[in-house]
């Protein structure tokens, strides 16, 4: 077995709950920080954490988790390039670190939604999924709702939201039916959404 896959598999056996909260922190980072190079690094981390959870789902085939991570990182790369093109076209040469606008509102909505996700995972346990995976699913859904609901004018962040929703669905569904065909189709959907979000970002500014 590939050493990285073996390490990922070992890591997933004890780090699933921290990975779930790590996903929340990375999501919060993307939501609160308005600088795509930082967001890119955070998103890469988020996909690694999602990969840890997938290693638990695909415990007999951890290479599938690696596939999910690689696909996620490919999408991250596409997002970074699109954000760079957008920034250059709009003449935003200044790419210093800065927080997103409406920061207090964002912090408040993030806090409220996190509480909702935590309480939902306690009160409505998902069938056939362990508690840590269920928590991760709820956190990903909440992040998706935040991104899709409040960042509609930014196709990239919206794309991240859609991918988060798909990741939650993928974790939940693959826990019951880890079939190759569904996994393959979901990988394809992930890649296409990444491409579409990047395309929309570039098209929007190409005036």
């Amino acid at each position: 077995m590939n050493p990285f896959i073996a390490w990922l598999s070992q890591l997933s056996s004890f780090a699933s709950t921290p990975a779930a909260w790590g996903i929340f922190l990375t999501g919060a980072g993307i939501y609160l920080i308005h600088e795509w190079r930082v967001r890119f690094l955070i998103l890469v981390t988020q996909y690694f954490l999602i990969g840890i959870l997938f290693a638990r789902v695909f415990d007999t085939r951890p290479e599938m988790a690696l596939l999910k991570i690689l696909v996620g990182w490919l999408v991250c790369g596409a997002f970074l390039i699109s954000a760079h093109v957008r920034g250059r076209t709009r003449g935003q040469a200044d790419s210093r670190f800065h927080w997103s606008s409406n920061l207090p509102f964002r912090i408040l909505s993030l806090t409220v939604m996190t509480v909702v996700a935590y309480l939902a995972s306690q009160r409505y346990p998902l069938p056939f999924v362990s508690a840590d995976l269920a928590l991760a699913c709820f956190i990903l859904i909440v992040l998706a709702v935040l991104f899709i609901g409040t960042e509609e004018n930014d196709p990239l962040v919206m794309g991240v939201g859609i991918l988060n929703l798909l990741a939650a669905l993928d974790i939940f569904y693959s826990s019951q039916d880890p079939g190759l065909l569904v996994t393959g189709l979901l990988v394809m959907v992930n890649l296409l959404i990444g491409l579409a979000a990047s395309y929309l970002t570039v098209v929007e500014v190409a005036e």
């Binding site: 509609e152 189709l185 296409l192 098209v203």
Partner: protein
């Protein structure tokens, strides 16, 4: 060697799409011709070949009824799939011809073929989860031509495409989890709570996919921001597939149709869509949005027709769906030309007096609008008239509400016509738009077909009645 029918219906469009995308993007005529011929070939093959026959094709033989097995998942053409498959391939072929002059060098042709292949797969595969994923892939593919920057006349606001993907993805969990619940129900057949949960999830997912109230926001945004021919493709081929999926599920899963609340739910949701869509259409100040809200009303009318829970209701719903490509095709060609006048802007302030500069595009938009509103002379009118008659037999009030929704769209169309016929502002260019003769011929052909089918709707009504007789879910 025998090739299963599904391989042809999915493989041929995908192969041609790859060739178009890689080799032929420079030649629009060739792309349009190949795309239209491919779609037409698939449509004719599925429509006229008896399913049990084996079609000889050189060294190969095509067995239409033979299932295709992909990793244990089966794709098969059943008799009930023939009209839906013919509809999506036929509509795609017509739209490729329309797009020939409207979208030069566009990726609409390869993307459209790939989409129609995915949607055909969605209709032929029998598990909900794969259907859902194939519809999702088709939706994502639609975004590329929807916001393709062609010339200066198409807006590049990407909100429509992003919102469309978001909504279709929101519908995905419901459909996928339904599959899990159905598998669980097969193990625990006494647990009816599983079926109730599946019903709710399936209903919610279809409401999102069909733009039912309160999930209608994507319809108007897509219509406003997107390229008109691609919007028409989405509203006819993609939405048509979802409608046929809904009918197929109601038929395949008797427990779904047996839910007592469905009948009133369909009627209520449908009437809400018609009233809200009609009100919004009547007060619209943008042509694109009018197209979106007219589609919302049309979808609402289809829900009301299904809510009658009668064979004629199903026939009317399918008839409305068959009438839509003609009406929306006309609106598309009108909208395209009028947007060109406004350099991508389709607000009424920009288009005052546009009828004097682009008379044929104005006629196309108005005739298409009248047909979408379900007013004479159009196939839509025959379907809506039948709907009012069936609904009024149960409740006159509901029939009046349905009529009011359609009247709202008609008021929107008349409002637009009034603006388009205003005297040209002095500051505006007085020069008449040079009309492409191919577009002109297409407009005349579509208007002719709309009026002809409006006068003689029997040919279509016979086909849809025969198809509707295959559905028995409302008798349970």
């Amino acid at each position: 060697m025998t090739i299963p029918g599904p391989v042809i219906l999915i493989g041929v469009p995908l192969a041609v799409a790859a060739v178009l995308q890689i080799l032929l993007r420079r030649w629009t005529l060739l792309m349009a011709l190949l795309a239209a011929l491919t779609a037409l070939f698939c449509g004719l093959l599925v429509s006229f070949t008896p399913l049990r026959d084996i079609v000889p094709s050189g060294t190969f033989q095509i067995a239409m009824e033979q299932p295709l097995n992909v990793l244990g998942r089966v794709l098969v053409i059943e008799p009930v799939d023939r009209l839906p498959l013919t509809f999506i391939f036929g509509t795609a072929a017509v739209l490729f011809v329309i797009a020939w002059r409207l979208l030069p060098h566009s990726n609409f042709f390869p993307a459209g073929l790939a989409m129609v292949a995915m949607l055909a797969g969605a209709l032929m595969v029998k598990q909900v989860v794969y259907t859902a994923l194939l519809v999702e892939i088709a939706a994502i593919l639609a975004v590329f031509p929807l916001h393709e920057p062609i010339g200066a006349h198409y807006g590049r606001r990407a909100k429509g495409g992003a919102r469309y993907i978001a909504y279709v993805t929101l519908a995905l969990p419901g459909l996928m989890v339904t599959q899990l619940l159905l598998e669980l129900f097969a193990i625990f057949p006494n647990d009816t709570a599983l079926l109730q949960a599946a019903t709710v999830l399936l209903g919610l997912s279809f409401a999102i996919l069909l733009g039912a109230v309160p999930f209608q926001a994507w319809l108007s945004t897509v219509a406003t921001d997107g390229s008109p021919p691609v919007v028409t493709f989405l509203f006819t081929v993609n939405l048509g597939t979802v409608w046929f999926m809904l009918l197929a599920y109601l038929e395949s899963y008797p427990w779904l149709g047996a839910q007592a609340s469905f009948k009133s739910l369909f009627t209520t949701v449908g009437l809400l869509m018609m009233i809200i869509g009609g009100s919004l259409a009547a007060s619209q100040r943008r042509l694109g949005r009018l197209v979106g809200y007219a589609t919302l009303v049309d979808n609402g009318a289809m829900f009301v027709a299904l809510g009658t829970w009668q064979i004629s209701g199903v026939a009317l719903a399918v008839m409305m769906l068959l009438a839509r490509p003609l009406a929306l095709g006309l609106m598309t060609m009108g909208l395209d030309g009028l947007r060109r006048l406004g350099s991508g802007d389709d607000t009424i302030e920009t288009l005052e007096g546009a009828a004097w500069r682009a008379p044929w595009r104005t006629i196309a938009f108005i005739v298409g609008g009248i047909a979408m509103a379900g007013f004479p002379l159009s196939l839509g009118f025959a379907a809506r008239w039948g709907l009012y008659r069936i609904v009024s037999a149960a409740s006159v009030f509901q029939a009046v509400l349905a009529l009011a929704g359609c009247a709202g769209v008609m008021m929107g169309v008349i409002g637009m016509l009034r603006v388009l016929l205003m005297p040209l502002p002095k500051s505006a260019s007085q020069r008449r738009q040079k009309e492409d003769w191919v577009v002109l011929i297409l407009i005349v052909l579509l208007i002719g077909a709309t009026v002809l089918l409006g006068i003689f709707p029997q040919s279509v009504s016979q086909i849809v009645l025969e198809m509707a007789e295959g559905f028995t879910f409302f008798t349970s």
